[in-house]
Every structure is written in C-alpha cells, then in structure tokens.
Amino acid sequence: MDISRDRLLWAYERMCLIREFEDRLHADFAAGKIPGFVHLYAGEEAVATGFCAHLRDDDFLTSTHRGHGHCIAKGVDLRAMMAEIYGKATGACKGKGGSMHIADVDKGMLGANGIVGGGPPLACGAGLSAKIKGTDQVTVCFFGDGASNQGTTFEGLNLAGVWKLPVIFVCENNGYAETTSPRYSVSGQDIAARARGFGMPSIAIDGLDFFAVYEAAGEAVARARRGEGPTFIEAQTYRYYGHFEGDTIKYRDREEEAHYKSLDCIGRFRTTVIEQELLSQAELDAIAARAREAVADAVRFADASPLPGADDLLTDVYVSYPERELWPFQEVRA
C-alpha cells in the first residue's frame, strides 16, 4: 500500500473522530438533548476519509443531509460542528443551519445539503471555477444511492462530462434511502454502470475497506488534477443507525446489520495496519482516546455556548439589503 505513516495516522484519527462524534450524537439525541433531523454517518467513515485523504484545504466538497463525516474528514472544526448541531451562536453557521447545513466554505466544504440531489450541480460549479481560474483544485461530490436516481444527479454527470470538469462523483451506496433499497429504486440495479453511460470511468468499490477507497480515490483525484475530467465511484457501504435519529429501523433485519458490523471499516483498518506493522496498537489506542476526548470537548463547548440572540434572526440573509425590507409591511416584529 502506497500510503505514508502520517496519512495512516491522520486517516485513523478522522475515522475515530467521525465514529465518536456520531455515537455521541446518537446517545445525546436519545437523551433529548438535540433537536431536529439528525442523520448519522457511523459505519461509512472509510468513504469520506479515503477521499479526503487526497484533498487539500483548497479542494472542494459537496455533501448531503448525512454530512458530519464529510465535514470532519475535510477538517471542519469539531467544536463549531457540535455547537451548530446544538443550535448555538458559536456554531459553524451561527446556529442557523443545523446538522443538515453545516458548511465551511473556507475549508472548501460547500455545505451539507437537505435536498437529495442538490449537490451534483453545485459540484460542477466548483469544478468550473477551478477550470476557469486554471487551478488544479479538485471537487468531490458525495451523494447517496437514493440520490443516484435524482434527475439533478444525472444532469451533473452529463455537465461534468461535457465540460471535462475536475469533479469526482462518489455515490455512497449504503443500501438504503430512508427505507428503500436501490434493489427497488435503481432500475438496472447497477449504479456505477449507469455512470459509464456518461462516458466517464466508473467503478464500484468496497466502501467498507479504507484501503480500497483510498486507492480508487487517489486515482480519481490525480486524474481530475491532471485535467482529465470526471470519475464516478460507487462506494458500497452501510449505515449503522437509522435513516435519522428516531428511526426504529423496521425495514431491515438485525442479521444484516450484524453482518455489516462484522466488516466494520475501523476495525478492519486496525487489523490491517497492525498485521502489516504499519502502526502499533498503542498508537491506535492513543488516537482513539484523543478522539473521544475531542468529541467530549466539543460537546462541552457546545453546551456552554450561548444561543443566538434575536438580532441574529435577520442577519446573513443578504450581503446587503435594506433592513426594513427584512420584515416588510409590519412594525410588530418578534
């Protein structure tokens, strides 16, 4: 495996941070501490991490409603993320976006997205920026198996192909869109094959295997950086929790869950790097412990942070707009 120790350490740390972050949210949601729709990424860590391992801070990423993992892998600040999910003023989006809209444009993270299929067109735009400015920035577009059916996704594939954009489309096929499997929803059953119809290299990979993801991602990113256009990768993975928190998961069997958990991406990573003597157990344990502490710290930070104030309601709608037009026709405001 052509991967440096540093990269391995980084990858393990990111995967642990994601898992820890999501497990903690799961518990805290159940405890009633967190409002709204929360979609957890636990189980899919190898995908976001395997791709982001090849990205620079100035590369771009578009995401989905299930965006925490993408954010963490791209380096969005954990405290800011947690505070955002708690709706606090210190959040990445000042509490205005919440779990489904965490973004950090400075880090190239163009936002989680509540619209299934919202990302692919946006990714083309980021790719177009790089192309027109003549940089070698790359854009990675994550979306789900459900999103693979959305018209906007196909439009994005076509546009990226026509304009030869440096965009990598990553379909995170986690077996379900809410309750619906691609076995039902994807006519033809083969998501990667469909993308081939758009004239781009397209493969399906084991998304539970960090090294498989890392390798495929490396090739795709290099290709995009060389200006050779888009690539499609279907990463086959699994989500451990329900579609969103509160989901009782009546649409799949516990045996299936157990099977996938036996293939856990973090566990397999550990086994591989220890067996191949790339990293030591002690190193790994230390990273896991640090991740636990980092998440605990983020929760403490979020807990202690202030809520946004009434003034914040009307800010950030526009760069500039007459104040009175933010509540037109009325004087009795909140």
């Binding site: 018209g151 619906t180 009325q330």
Partner: protein
C-alpha cells in the same frame, strides 16, 4: 358538494384524520392511488415484517398498504419530477392520484410538472383535459428542521392559475378538505402542517366533505378581524382568548382555502369589525397575507378604521436554532400587539 356528517363525532389527531380521509376515499373510488417516497416502506422486500415499515416519513399513510396493497399505495424512487409527472399523466388518463411531495420545500425539484403541466394543461388544451390530482405536502416551521424542510411557501402555488390550494388547521378540516380535494377534478395542493400532526380535535365519522373555497369563522367577534392560515389559526385563537380578557372581541377567520379565496367571508368580517390583522407563517413578499390586505385595500377601504396589520414570518429563510425559530413563527403575543395597534 355538501357537508355531510353521517355519524358520531370522535376525537382524532390531525394525522389520523388525514389517514382516515385517504382510507375512505380509496375505499370509495378504486381510481384513487397514493404515491410518494416511503409512503409504505421497504418496497424491495417481500418479508411481511418489513411491510409498511414507515407509512410515510411521519407515519401519516401508515396502514393503507395493508388494505389497498402495493399497486395502489406506491413507494417511489427519489425522483420528484418523475413521480409528480407520473401523477399528472395518470390524472390526465383517468386515475385520481394523490402524490406526496414530502416537504413543500422540495417543490423546486419538480415544480415544472405542477405549475407548467398539471396547472396549465386544461387551459392549453382548450378544456379538453382534466387533472384530478391531489398533491399532499408538509409545511410548517417549529420542527427544528432548518431552512429547506420548514417552509410554508404555499403562496408560490397560489400564484399559479390552474391550482387550488388548501391549508387546514384542525383535524376535522383536514379530513373534510382532503376528501374534497381528492374528489375535485382540478389539481389541488393540500398543505399539511407537520407541527399539527399530533394535535387533536373532534372529527365526524364516515363520509365528511367540506366544500372547497370556503373560509371558516373559527371564533366570532366584533372589534377586529384576524385572518389566519394553518397553524396560525391556533395562535390567533390563543391571541383572541387573551384579547377577550382585555375586553377586545376578536373574530378569527380561518382561511382554509387559499385558492380559491373566499372573499365574501373575509370581506363580511372586515366590514363588521373595521379592523384587520392577517397572520401568516409564510414569508411576507407576494404572499397570501398580502392578498388579504389587497382585498381590504381594493374592496373594503371605506370600512377600514385603521391600517391593516400583517403578522408574518420575516423575509428570511427559516433558521435552525430553536432560539431563532421560535422568533420566526408569528406568536400569539405579536398577534395581540398587532390587534391592539389597530385599536389605536
């Protein structure tokens, strides 16, 4: 179409009332079908244990697949343009589809099929098509669902000729209006406020159909007219209750039918009270709230004793943080202040 109350009145939740209307209309008319994402759940599976795994994202369609089967209660891929258009095409060719657009904020991925196809077909075809399509969709902030899942942007649909738009506030109205929508021969957008699903109220049993286009005076009063929509009706009633204790008699008009507009009922109330407050959770520009003010300005100006007061959401997306979202939605306190302002 008439109001028919056949049996006793029981208490149901808004969710149950909608489910009941769907069930009764599907029983009554085999051409009624239902489709949307996960309206049953797990369509890939033949395992009985998985059937009806969701019954809709918030459980509104639960149980229907057991009675009507997967032919008539259909899960769809995530392709809103595809299945909305399929609803339009099916309506044009003899079915009476009820299509679920999960959240109204998803209109943007399928608007064309609603406003350029369903809404315009009859006119473009010189009256030679009819599109008996019902689109059920969720509106409403307060669910901490953030900017893309919390809109109440029904005014977008109201703007387009060819559509009818309903927004019931109570379980009984939800049942009666949904039945009417399904039986109606024009495309109807039926807006369900997700924050109301667990609210309860008396609902007539059996067949119950409320004619479209009729507002409902939910509380009679003399001093000020409060026109409200969907959940805002509850806030208006709360405000009216408090105003009453201050000696102000507020009339609460539940618009219910946003298109067509019941001008008579609204104007009659304005003429009686001489004062108008409009409460709308939707954003204020080009809104139904503005339409009510416009109605007053064009047709009841001489009756107005005070400037019209609007109480709406701000001209901003819906914020996530509960601290902000609670300020976003018009509160009873704001309604009271607006009503008092009309009284000088």
């Amino acid at each position: 179409m008439t109001v028919m109350v056949e049996e006793a009145v029981r208490t149901l939740s808004y969710r149950e009332a909608i489910n009941e209307a769907l069930r009764l209309e599907m029983r009554r008319d085999p051409s009624v079908i239902l489709m949307g994402e996960d309206v049953t759940g797990a369509s890939q599976s033949d395992d009985e244990a998985h059937l009806d795994a969701w019954g809709g994202v918030l459980g509104v369609t639960k149980g229907l697949v057991h009675e009507f089967g997967r032919q008539r209660v259909r899960d769809t891929p995530i392709t809103e343009s595809g299945f909305m258009g399929a609803g339009v095409g099916a309506a044009a060719t003899g079915l009476r589809p009820v299509v679920e657009l999960m959240f109204i904020g998803f209109m943007g991925v399928c608007l064309d099929q609603i406003v350029n196809q369903a809404a315009k077909m009859r006119y473009m075809f010189g009256g030679k098509a009819k599109i008996p399509l019902t689109v059920r969709t969720m509106i409403g902030a307060g669910f901490r669902a953030a900017a893309q899942h919390s809109d109440s942007i029904y005014s977008t649909f109201v703007h387009f000729p060819g559509l009818k738009v309903l927004a019931p506030a109570t379980p009984a109205d939800a049942k009666g209006l949904l039945a009417a929508a399904i039986r109606d021969d024009d495309p109807v957008i039926f807006c369900e406020n997700k924050v109301l699903y667990d609210t309860k109220g008396p609902v007539p049993e059996g067949e119950y159909v409320i004619p479209l286009g009729k507002a409902d005076v939910k509380r009679a009063g003399d001093d000020v007219t409060i026109v409200a929509i969907s959940r805002m009706v509850l806030h208006a009633l709360e405000a009216a209750e408090q105003l009453a204790s201050q000696g102000v008699s507020a009339e609460v008009v539940d618009l219910r039918s946003l298109a067509p507009l019941d001008e008579e009922t609204v104007l009659a109330s304005i003429r009686k009270t001489g004062r108008l407050v409009v409460v709308d959770e939707d954003n204020p520009r080009c809104s139904v709230a503005g339409d009510i003010a416009t109605l007053a300005a064009t047709q009841a100006l001489d009756y107005l004793n005070a400037p019209v007061k609007l109480v709406t959401a701000p001209h901003t997306p819906v914020p996530f943080s509960p601290a902000l979202e609670d300020l976003y939605v018009p509160s009873p306190a704001r309604i009271i202040a607006a009503a008092q302002a009309t009284l000088g």
